[in-house]
């Protein structure tokens, strides 16, 4: 137990030393706070159409701090709502991918032999295909329900996680404590879930953090095309699509949600890289 704590403390120390990662964490934290609290700060609800102020530029005095879109809706609040939905869907999709991927990979790594071959062949076959198209197929199947959007995205995102987890699991299986657990009569599910999986935690955390921005991008991509989240619900994707339509006259309608998206993606990537370096340092 003492050794385990030492490992995590070491990793925490390395992470804190990585300025980009820490900055990203702060930015993300601030953003989450804003997403939760921000709409209450502004006097405008997200869906109120303000006929008198359609398409106005950002103006601190008017109360529409980041301007309004072409229907007069306050952009600040709408962007925060959009960020919220995008983040929630991305987190749920990551969770779905995690569950499928970790189980798949852990079972394959544990079982080895033919079971492993079969499971990983399946992953290889699917890996070669651009999974966006399957996601689109699934969204059509699910009738574009926002509830099930995250299932669709998560259902094709688990492949990399499965591969990574399987690799780690195979290495772990050779370790002594696993042999001891098996020798003491623990059944497969016990070995997998109580011994293998906890030791994969570090890898899983890193890849999950790196997966979140990918999920956000997929969801925004779909929403941009109109296949994901639809009006009147706001997602960063469809806000950007709106903005694309209004580019000439009112560029901020595009720039505000686009900027928000890019910042979120950057931050998660830096954080994920930082976690990876902290938990798996390659330089002495």
């Amino acid at each position: 137990m003492i050794r385990k704590r030492g490992l995590w403390a070491d990793a925490a120390r390395r992470l804190v030393a990585n300025r980009a990662a820490v900055a990203s964490l702060c930015v993300l934290g601030a953003l989450c706070l804003l997403v939760a609290v921000g709409p209450m700060l502004s006097s405008y609800p997200a869906d109120e159409l303000d006929w008198s102020m359609m398409g106005t530029a950002p103006d601190l005095g008017s109360g529409h701090w980041l301007g309004t879109d072409r229907l007069g809706r306050d952009l600040f609040v709408r962007t925060l709502h959009g960020a919220r939905i995008s983040l929630v869907i991305a987190l749920l999709a990551t969770a779905v991918s995690l569950v499928i991927g970790v189980t798949w990979g852990a079972v394959a790594g544990y079982a080895g032999g033919r079971v492993d071959s079969m499971l990983m062949r399946f992953v290889d076959v699917l890996y070669a295909l651009p999974n966006i198209f399957f996601v689109i197929l699934l969204t059509v199947v699910f009738d574009r329900s926002p509830m099930l959007l995250f299932v669709a995205i998560g259902a094709v995102g688990w492949l990399t996680m499965a591969r990574v987890v399987r690799g780690q699991a195979m290495t772990l299986m050779r370790r002594d404590f696993i042999e001891a657990a098996i020798a003491s009569g623990a059944g497969p599910s016990r070995v997998i879930f109580r011994h293998v999986v906890p030791n994969l935690l570090g890898t899983v955390i890193v890849y999950a953090t790196l997966m979140i921005p990918q999920m956000i991008l997929i969801e925004s991509f779909l929403s941009f095309l109109g296949i994901g989240i639809q009006e009147p619900l706001a997602s960063l994707g469809n806000l950007i699509a709106d903005g694309a339509n209004e580019m000439e006259a009112a560029p901020w309608i595009l720039l505000v949600p686009a900027g928000c998206l890019v910042i979120i993606v950057f931050c998660f990537n830096f954080l994920g890289d930082g976690l990876r370096d902290a938990l798996d340092p390659r330089d002495p």
Binding site: V125, A128, L129, P130, I132, F133, F134, I136, L137, L138, T139, V140, V141, F142, D143, L217, S220, F221, F224, L225, G226, I227, G237, I240, A241, G243, A244, M247, E248, P251, L254, A258, L261, V262, V265, F266, N269
Partner: protein, 310 residues
Amino acid sequence: MIGYVLKRLLGAIPTLLVVIALSFLLMRLAPGGPFDEEQALPAEIRANLERAYGLDQPLYVQLGRYVRGLARGDFGPSFKFKDFSVTELIATGLPVSLELGAAAMLLAVLLGVPLGTLAALRHNGAVDHAVMALAVLGIAVPVFVVAPLAALVFGIYLGWLPVAGWMPGAARDMVLPASTLALPVIAYVARLTRGSMLESLRSPFVRAARARGVPWARVVWRHALPAALTPVVSYLGPATAAVLTGSLVVETIFGLPGLGRYMVQGALNRDYTLVMGMVIVYAALMIALNLLVDVAYAWLDPRVRPGARR
């Protein structure tokens, strides 16, 4: 080499069959049928329609019919574009998308590799930092943000390039869409080439070639660069996937009548056969292109060729 290609082709068929079966089953899982959105149809007419389209048969029979149709090149009718079969739509859209994709990939390699090489040759210099900064931006900013911005800046503000529509053979129409599509790939290829070249330039055989007095330009071009290109070629597989994915957005924004646009519309309209057909075509494209990449890889690195002695 031919044998290798044939073997890979044969291996690709089961993959394709899996894709077909999977998409077919998923489609049939969809709640409601393709006729639900029509105005309320009398039950009899609906039953006739369903029989006409073979929708009343058990699943495996339908699958069989579909696959046989595919073998004939028949993807079935489009449920929403009433006058067109999916095959016709594919035939119209495929050349456009192929041209767009090919242009994007060509741009990616012709710009990405030299940029990366230059950055490696002037390691830690101004060029290196500039290329790396651009690479980060290119990779992180998604195509659906870049495309509208590019259309805004180059099409509308500067008025240099056309922003919408496509006339067969008009190269200018392709410039903006292909460049926006290629941007993330250029960025990644540049970064990959740079890293790979840095390693290659440090490798012992480069030093040995220099020690023999081979001129530096030749050392870079004939010794270091081909060795550095293998990871780039490997990346071309996933790169094609990225290009195919991005084409959905680019074709929509720039109004290009390619496969991507049909796919998006099919998804929006719940046009099952169209979407399924598109998925299969895209999967087949991916498999074919991945095979091409593998062949290119073997051609570049003699050690990987089948039958090579180790």
